[in-house]
Homo-oligomer: 147 residues x 2
DNA sequence: TTTTTTGCAAAACCTTTGCAGTTGG
DNA sequence: CCAACTGCAAAGGTTTTGCAAAAAA
């Protein structure tokens, strides 16, 4: 696998729109919230609270786990992130909105495959037809062929 | 909703075949293992370790949580149960084998809908065709119309 | 008898909560 | 200024691990 260091792939929409969503939800924009969102925007996969803490910690900012959890919950209420579980580990948080991704997790090998939401449209339709569910944020787990 | 107390619904195959599977995997058949499996057979939904502990505890048997976890892990290796997560709570354990069920969990209302495995055949096929997964033990989470 | 399994206790994780001090609007 | 937010510390819930006693084969 090769990487393209000159053209960093921008996976999600901009940070400012996420901050605007926070303001719209009546939340204040703080430094802690900025760096948490930046960590999520920089990653192209869901992050655990601990992973966010690690990535957002800088010499000058003493971010605490409690704040990360409290903020992620606030973000979830504001419709900015969603809280998912892949496998048996800690909960993970992923950005919602423009550029949002869906995830397929392999229980056998632990790999996570990132999908565009549209790639699950057929499955969503089938679920709705068969079981009456208008599924959003579909988070299935599969095991079988490695991802 | 009405119940039929006179005809208890037998949801899964027999306890003896599960015990045979344990022996086949080189595990000993102990009283603790018997009562854990009985609790799972008696329930028609996945149970948490704590739920199993509550249901399996009797005045004469001092079953411990550590034993429940150790045994559920052993059962999983032996192919007798599977370990799933529905929502954000504790892990749940469900029987595998004849009479096995699949579960659809509503993130909005918390309800769990039990399905016959065949009811997911179409979705399994679609997943395999689109993403190359021979999914077994499909454990999707959905939210939308209440279950 | 030999190995596995058990209960108990302690620890490891992950997450939540209380509180006094700080910060954003 | 005032309500919202923060770090710190402590607690809560779930799961794992170490070890000597008990039970299965």
């Amino acid at each position: 696998m090769t990487t393209s260091p000159a053209v960093p792939r921008v996976q999600f929409a901009d940070l400012d729109s996420a901050l605007a969503a926070l303001r719209a939800a009546g939340l204040r924009v703080t430094l802690a919230r900025r760096v948490i969102l930046q960590a999520l925007f920089a990653a192209d996969e869901p992050l655990s609270a601990e992973a966010i803490l690690t990535r957002a910690a800088t010499p000058e900012l003493a971010l605490d786990a409690a704040s990360v959890y409290r903020n992620l919950e606030a973000f979830e209420h504001a419709g900015v992130v969603r809280h998912v579980h892949l496998g048996h580990g800690a909960g993970l948080y992923a950005l919602i909105g423009e550029g949002e991704r869906e995830y397929l997790y392999c229980e056998r090998c632990g790999a996570t495959r990132s999908l565009a939401p549209r790639q699950l449209d057929e499955i969503r339709t089938l679920l709705r037809e068969r079981f009456g569910h208008a599924t959003h944020a579909f988070g299935g787990e599969a095991h079988g062929a490695p991802l």
